[in-house]
Every structure is written in C-alpha cells, then in structure tokens.
Amino acid sequence: MIDRTERTTGHHGPDFETLFRAAGVTGWLYAADIDSGRDVGHGADEPLPTASMFKVPLLVEFCRQADAGLLDPTSRVTVTADDRVPGPTGISAMLDDVTISLRDLAYLMIAVSDNSSADVLLGRVGIDAVNAMLAHHGLASTRVSQSARELNESMRRDTGHGWPYLDPDEVARLSALDPARANSSTPREMVRLFGLIWRDEAASRASCAWMRTVLNMQVWPHRLASGFPYDDVAVSGKTGTLPTLRCESGVVEYPDGRRYAVAVFTRSFSTALIQPRADAVIGTAARMAVDHLRR
C-alpha cells in the first residue's frame, strides 16, 4: 500500500516525536478529516496491540447482525458469576447476577469498557464474524483473536501471577503487548473504522447513529477529550490500556461541522501505572494533528 500520508518529519508538519518524548512515551498517530480525507500521521501503519479498543469492531459487528435480524439487541441475558471477567468497571465490578439487554451490554462495553459485557457480546456475535467484517471493509491489519478473558489470562500465564504488572522484564514478555499474538490494528485502520461509523458506512444509518451516541458517552476525560477542553467541541472514542500501553481512537467534531477521526497509541518508558502526562499527551497530540489539518 502506498503511504500518501503527509510526512511529519519534514519542515512544516507538527513535531509529534518531541511531544511524545516529553511525556515519557513512544507514540504513533494518525488523523484524518472524515469528509475530505486530508490526513496526517506519525507511524500510521505500525501494527500495535489494541487492548480494549477491540470492542469497537465488536460493536460494529453487533450492529450489523442486529441490522440483518441475526440477533435482537433488546433481548435480555443474565450475566452470572461464571460470565464475569476481571475488570475495574461495570458488570465486572459487580457482585450479583445481572439481567440486561444486549444493547445495554454494548453500552457498558463502550462507555466504561466493561470486560464482562464485551465477552458476553463476543460470545453472541462470534469472533470469526468480527474478523469477517473487518476483512469485508479491507481492514487487513486489524484482527480480533482474543476475548477480554483470554487477554487477562495471557498476562497471568506470561508472568505467573496476577495484576499488577510492574516489572519491566515481565512487561517486556507479555504476549498481550505483541501485535502478532494479541488483538491488533494500526492507527490508520482504527481511523478508517471510525470514519465508517461516522459516515454511516459501517452498518445501517440508525445503527451508526446509535454507535456514535454510545461512543460519545464514553466516560474517560483524560486522554483524547483532554486535548479539546471546550463546550462546543464533541469528542467520542474508545480507550485501550495495558501495562505501558495507553491508546484511544475516536472522533472530534468542531463547531463548524468539520470532523476528524484520530487514533493515538503510546508505550510509556516507565511501567508505573499512574502517568497523567502519558494520558494527556494522547489529547495534546490529537489536538496538534487536528490543528494541523485545519490550517
């Protein structure tokens, strides 16, 4: 594939390299105007682990199956202790059985990145169907090969213990961080996936509108949204987090109607869990990219 993305190593592009380094991370980024296609990138085609961002293609395939009548998004399931996957939010954090509609599971999966909701939906939708959808849209570097449970178990298997994972040598051998073995994508393909949702091309118009609503309800303000701290700029997206990996893909909508899909992946030099600068640089870099596209 010919890379026509504007190079940022030249004299005029934004200096993403320096920005990422100052935040203590290595970063990869791609941003595109959803309607004009004008773009800017920094390592845009690097295969990278997607962590929880795999929930976005799962959401898309869920909608396509609902559109096709293969599943009823309002049908209810009961999520029991056996279905519960470790995780800090949503049903993963609850103690008792939950009866809930499939589409509300999808909402929890996106809004608070609930792992249990994601795995129940993945069980319904099927991992092969998700990958077939990705292939259908030509997203050849994007792959879903693991459930949230499998991802968690791989880290336990790789280190011999549970969370937290702070030892740099242990982190270095996590298969969850190896794009060849874990769920993976590239900044460019995550942006293309979001572009399909925002242009009503990923599923039916109604389903795409609903996906945009749900992605806009994601609660985390510290990454992509932090770069656009304005009442009149809308930010929608999905984060992904693993030891040293922080990322978010999403869409930024400006008051003049122009909209930009952005994907930022970072790997921090340090294995410390709390790194506000590493979170914030996702927003700062995205802002720099969008600002560049608006000039």
Partner: protein, 309 residues
C-alpha cells in the same frame, strides 16, 4: 423681457402700494419702475394697479396674480439656492475610530464613485457618541456597532465580522492554527472604551465568560501597544501587523455587528444616506470581510459524560 425680474418689481409695488417707496426698496429711480410695471401690464394684457385715485391700489386681477408671482419668484430663488448648494454638498459621516484605515479609504472612494458631487466628511466617533451626534444633527449618517438601542434612529442592513485574536508574536498560542476562547485564560484583554461601545463591550465579555474566558483585567483603548508588549490580547479582524500574530477563534464566538444609522427625520439627506448605506454594505463586504448576519452558525454544546455525575 425678463419676466422674473418684472415680477419682483410687481411684488415690491404691491407690498408697498407706493411707487416711490417701492423704488427705494428696489434701489432704483421711480420713472423706470413705473415704466417696467407698465410693460408687465402690457405683457400680461391686464392692469395690475389702479392709479386713478391718489392712492395706488391693486386691481382684482393684480390681487389674483400676486400670489402666483410670489410663488414663481420663490421657486426661482430656491432653484438658485439649490444650484449654489449642490456645488459643495457635504455628507457628514461617523465611523468607529478603530475601523481600519483601508476600509475608511474604500468607503470614501466608493461613495465618490456613486456621488461625485457630494463630499464625504468622515469623523472618527465611537458608537455611543455617534448616537448623540446623529440626534443633534452633527453627523448625517453613522457606522455603528450593535447592539445599540436609540429611539429615533433607523439602521441599515446589519453585517457581521468574525473576530479573531491578536497576540504578541511571542505568545505560545501564536504557534497554533486557531485558538479557543478558553485557551486565553489568564490573559488580560484590550477592548475599545466601554463608554464608547457599551453594547459591544457587554456582549463580547458575556460571550467570553460563556466560553470559559474571564479576563483578569479589561483594558480600554484603541491602540495595540499593550498587545505588542505582550500585556494583553485583543479581538479583531484578520490583520498582519509587525510583532503581532492574528489567529482565528475556534467556533467564531466573537463577532462584530455593524450597520449604518441615521435619524428618522433626516429628510433632505435621505437620498444621500441611502446611497452611503449601499456603498457601506458593499465596501464592508469587499474590504472588511463582513458577511450577512444569517451566515454565522449557531453554537452547539457537546454533551460529555461527567457533567452531572
């Protein structure tokens, strides 16, 4: 014969009813005055005065013709007055002192093109003072900033100028493509004087607060020295000035709305005021980047989770 001049003699005699007194009033001798009245009577084919008695009296037809004669003479006088006046008709115009010099020049040039016989006399006056000057007749037409409330004034088409922000070239924000009002936090703001532009002042500051910018201090003035010194920022149309950077404001929240204004009872100048209004609309669109009022999009507030959490 010079009918109008003869009518003037007739009016003088009719008012004096005495040839001697009328001759004195007209600065001439009595015999030629009598001669000329006689000639006028021949010309009109009727006797104007009854000279039979010792007293001079208007005849019936003299009385009838007097009113017409006065009307004719008055109209001729008015004709001459208008002709004299037209040579140096001046339209007094008020413009905001911070209006770009190039725009004022374009206004003058544009008006000269449509009304070459009228001289445009622009005076730099803030909106509030223009309102007073219009009421007193000190100016014929103004270029005012809205909102402005003044009974007795009429306004031309309102045009909108999107404002960006002027920063010192060394300001970190000068490096980005566009600036959100909230990004200006902590910076002092330079605005035109509040007494001069009360409406615009209130509206702009309210818009700033709404968008997350509450300037710690608002300076008043028209010069950009404070901005150049890095002590304040200012709003304004796109400008390239040495030592300053201009950046658009994200979402175009700050606008400047202007229109022409004139007194409702400006009857004699009505046509000129209309001409000036038309020239102003065209010029402001062409050389000041102004647009029709409806062209500014409404603000849409994004809904982010956590707002009520």
């Amino acid at each position: 014969m010079d009918l109008v001049r003869h009518l003037r003699y007739f009016i003088a005699v009719a008012e004096e009813l005495h040839f001697g007194n009328a001759a004195i009033r007209l600065g001439m001798a009595q015999p030629p005055l009598s001669q000329r009245i006689k000639r006028l009577e021949e010309e009109l084919g009727t006797r104007l005065f009854d000279r039979s008695a010792r007293q001079v009296r208007l005849t019936e037809s003299g009385r009838l013709l007097l009113a017409e004669a006065r009307e004719i003479v008055a109209r001729v006088d008015r004709l001459h007055e208008l002709a004299r006046h037209g040579e140096d008709t001046v339209l007094k115009v008020g413009v905001p002192p911070d209006l770009a010099a190039a725009v004022i020049a374009a206004l003058v040039a544009g008006f000269r093109e449509t009304n070459p016989e009228v001289r445009l006399a622009p005076a730099e006056i803030w909106t509030a003072d223009q309102v007073t000057a219009l009421a007193e007749g000190a100016i014929d037409v103004g270029l005012v900033r809205h909102p402005v409330s003044a009974p007795g004034l009429q306004f031309g088409e309102i045009l909108v100028q999107l404002q960006g922000v002027l920063l010192a070239a060394g300001d970190p924000l000068a490096g980005v493509g566009e600036v959100h009002l909230a990004d200006l936090a902590g910076r002092e703001l330079l605005m035109p004087p509040r007494e001069g532009e009360p409406g615009m002042h209130a509206e702009m500051l309210s818009e700033c607060r709404r968008h997350g910018y509450v300037p710690p201090q608002v300076h008043q003035g028209a010069g950009l020295g404070l901005v150049l010194a890095g002590a304040a920022v200012a709003f304004g149309p796109k400008a390239e000035l040495p030592g300053l950077a201009w950046r658009p404001l994200l979402g175009s929240p700050i606008t400047c709305r202007v229109s022409t204004a004139w007194r409702v009872a400006t009857a004699p100048m009505n046509e000129l005021v209309g001409d000036f209004s038309a020239v102003a609309v065209r010029t402001l669109k062409e050389s000041a980047g102004m647009t029709d009022e409806g062209a500014v999009p409404a603000r849409r507030i994004s809904r982010r989770p956590g707002m009520l959490a």
